[in-house]
């Protein structure tokens, strides 16, 4: 038995990824859950709009963190503040209404509770998700999560299978251009993930009544850019994995933080900056901003352009780097030194 135990420890010691999971993952989970898992909302960003906005803003409890005072603004201006995500709540001084952004579920719930605690001072109106349905908030995030799974895990598995089965070297010597192989390998996963995205969006609408308030084209473009990022991650993972087990292990390191730190479950604004900054490095964070913004709030490019730009930069860096690495793997010393090779036709 001891021989077996010693053999197992030796193998584990040399399997750095498994050791990484054994040691790194518990620490990661502890830190994330310890610091990030906070459903509590300490304050809510608030716009005060209408006549006497200055005075009313000064009387608000500390929970309502005033980010904008607009004495000349209209109800439309207040709604735009919420659509463009400049504030989570807006107070209309004229008719004493409190508009709440229902697409930020926990923030909205806390805001409604705080308003009720303050008596009948304001009529509360929840926009974009009037019944504060959890599914309405989760589905836009799940669309991104499903694309992340397919793009990162399934793609890396498909690519690593070529290496594991020894067919990558077969492809490398066939009369394909590197780009043929790369596009040919990745396009099916792109299409499948895109179809999945469409299916989940339609099902979310049919089963849970999730609205689609914004532009389909804008959403489709955002999904495509996001998909390039996660596909790029999948390709990168495949280039550093020798077999499918390693690919799954590595993919978990990329996927887990996205589930926990993208704002899909725990509000980003509730996380301390020590953890929150990780969330801002994750592509799912920005896709959720896009999907929630377009589906629920009907937001346009004008209010989501930052998310689009960040995702586009990520796509160029991650997908570009992945293609270069894959190309290197496909043709390791690819006909790079023709001086020593006499190739005749």
């Amino acid at each position: 038995m001891w021989a077996m135990v010693i053999k197992e420890f030796r193998e584990l010691k040399r399997d750095r990824r498994t050791m990484g999971m054994l040691i790194g993952l518990p620490i990661l989970l502890l830190v994330i859950f310890g610091y990030a898992a906070d459903f509590g909302v300490d304050d809510v960003s608030t716009a005060v709009v209408g006549t006497g906005a200055d005075e009313i803003a000064g009387q608000l409890p500390a929970f309502f963190r005033v980010v904008e005072i607009d004495p000349t603004g209209t109800a439309q201006d207040a709604t735009d503040d919420l659509v463009d995500n400049r504030a989570d709540a807006a107070i209309l001084t004229g008719d004493r209404r409190l508009l709440v952004d229902g697409s930020s579920l926990f923030t909205a719930q806390a805001t409604v509770a705080a308003a009720r605690g303050a008596g009948d001072r304001f009529d509360v109106e929840v926009l974009f998700n009037p019944d504060l349905e959890t599914s309405w908030v989760m589905v836009p995030g799940l669309i991104g999560l499903i694309m992340t799974f397919i793009g990162t895990i399934v793609t890396s598995l498909g690519l690593v299978r070529e290496r594991q089965d020894g067919t990558l070297e077969q492809l490398a010597v066939m009369p394909f251009r590197s780009s043929d192989v790369i596009v040919g390998k990745i396009a099916p996963y792109f299409l499948l993930a895109y179809l999945d995205m469409v299916a989940v969006t339609v099902l979310g609408s049919l089963l849970f009544g999730v609205p689609f308030a914004g532009s389909i084209v804008l959403f489709g473009i955002g999904a495509a850019i996001f998909l390039l990022v996660v596909l790029g991650l999948g390709v990168l993972i495949s280039t550093i994995s020798e077999n499918q087990g390693q690919a799954i292990q590595t993919a978990m390191f990329f996927v887990m933080p996205q589930i926990l730190l993208s704002g899909m479950i725990f509000p980003l604004t509730s996380m301390p900056w020590g953890v929150r900054w990780i969330g801002y490095l994750l592509p799912l964070t920005y896709f959720i901003q896009i999907s929630t913004g377009i589906l629920l709030r009907g937001a346009g490019f004008g209010s989501l352009w930052v998310a689009y730009v960040v995702l586009s930069v990520m796509a160029v860096i991650v997908f570009g780097g992945a293609l270069l690495r894959f190309r290197r793997d496909l043709a390791p010393k690819l006909r790079s030194a023709p001086a020593v090779e006499a190739v005749s036709t």
């Binding site: 089965d165 020894g166 067919t167 490398a172 010597v173 066939m174 690819l334 020593v340 005749s344």
Partner: protein, 278 residues
């Protein structure tokens, strides 16, 4: 066309795994590369097909579209059927659907795979998968056919058929280069290169290899020097380095190819030890 390598060296991971290797693979003939594990056989083949670029030397080969390659893993896609594997390779090499169908039917029949045409490659036995790999490598009638251990795991009867197919490819004009661990197979090739430690230690026809090892081979009743002796069936063979006298030395007609290859290997290693000692 003639394919081959001239003074090719390859460095992988900081160490040289091929040292100034020469190989000539004329059209219409089979050239066998033999050697033990880690001798550099597969590395040489990967250079020939263009998967690796040598650090020095020259490779002669036709355009990629005229090369057929069967890696040691057979190179088949496990989740595709036999038919689909062959068709994919045919399409990759630009063959028409009609040509693919004709060649596929003929080759699968010759390889004894007709009845397995709809089976997944991953569900085939090791030998059947090797034969599928061969069919995939020759579907487009390449000018240079490179086969890495094509007969490993193939049953003896199927191996005979596989050799027939290899010979036909050569008769059809292809330059065939193959590695093998079976010396009885290598003997059938027109020319043979013996690799050891990344160096060619013997090359030529079967007769040239038998006639060119230094020293002599004896057939004593029992081994006198363990590290230079080996068994052939019930008999003992012993290599005596050049210059030593050996009673009962075998004449050229009595020396088998395998004995000659072993003598070449022992001579090369003895020379290597002498060089290291000086």
């Amino acid at each position: 066309m003639s394919a081959g390598a001239r003074s090719v060296s390859v460095a992988l991971g900081g160490s040289e795994v091929l040292h100034h290797v020469d190989l000539d693979a004329p059209a219409g003939s089979v050239t066998a590369v033999v050697g033990g594990d880690g001798a550099g056989k597969s590395t040489l083949l990967r250079c020939l097909v263009g998967e690796l670029t040598p650090s020095a030397g020259e490779i002669r080969r036709p355009d990629r579209a005229l090369i057929g390659y069967m890696p040691a893993t057979s190179g088949s896609w496990r989740q595709l059927t036999v038919d689909e594997n062959v068709a994919f390779v045919g399409r990759a090499f630009g063959m028409s659907a009609e040509s693919i169908e004709q060649r596929r039917t003929a080759l699968l029949r010759r390889a004894g795979l007709s009845t397995a045409a709809d089976r997944l490659a991953g569900a085939l036995s090791g030998g059947m998968r090797q034969k599928l790999g061969f069919v995939m490598a020759v579907i487009h009638e390449p000018e240079l056919l490179v086969l890495d251990e094509p007969s490993t795991g193939v049953d003896p009867v199927s191996r005979v058929e596989l050799w027939r197919l290899i010979s036909e490819a050569a008769i059809g004009g292809a330059a065939v280069v193959m590695t093998t661990s079976y010396l009885d197979e290598a003997e059938r090739a027109r020319s043979i290169s013996v690799l050891d430690g990344g160096r060619v230690i013997a090359a030529g026809t079967r007769g040239e290899i038998i006639g060119s090892f230094p020293g002599s081979i004896a057939a004593p009743d029992r081994a006198t020097v363990q590290e230079r002796s080996w068994r052939r069936g019930g008999a003992v063979r012993e290599w005596h380095p050049h210059g030593s006298t050996a009673d009962g030395s075998l004449g050229p007609g009595d020396i088998e190819f395998e004995d000659a290859v072993i003598a070449h290997l022992l001579a090369a290693r003895a020379a290597s030890r002498r060089t290291a000692g000086t």
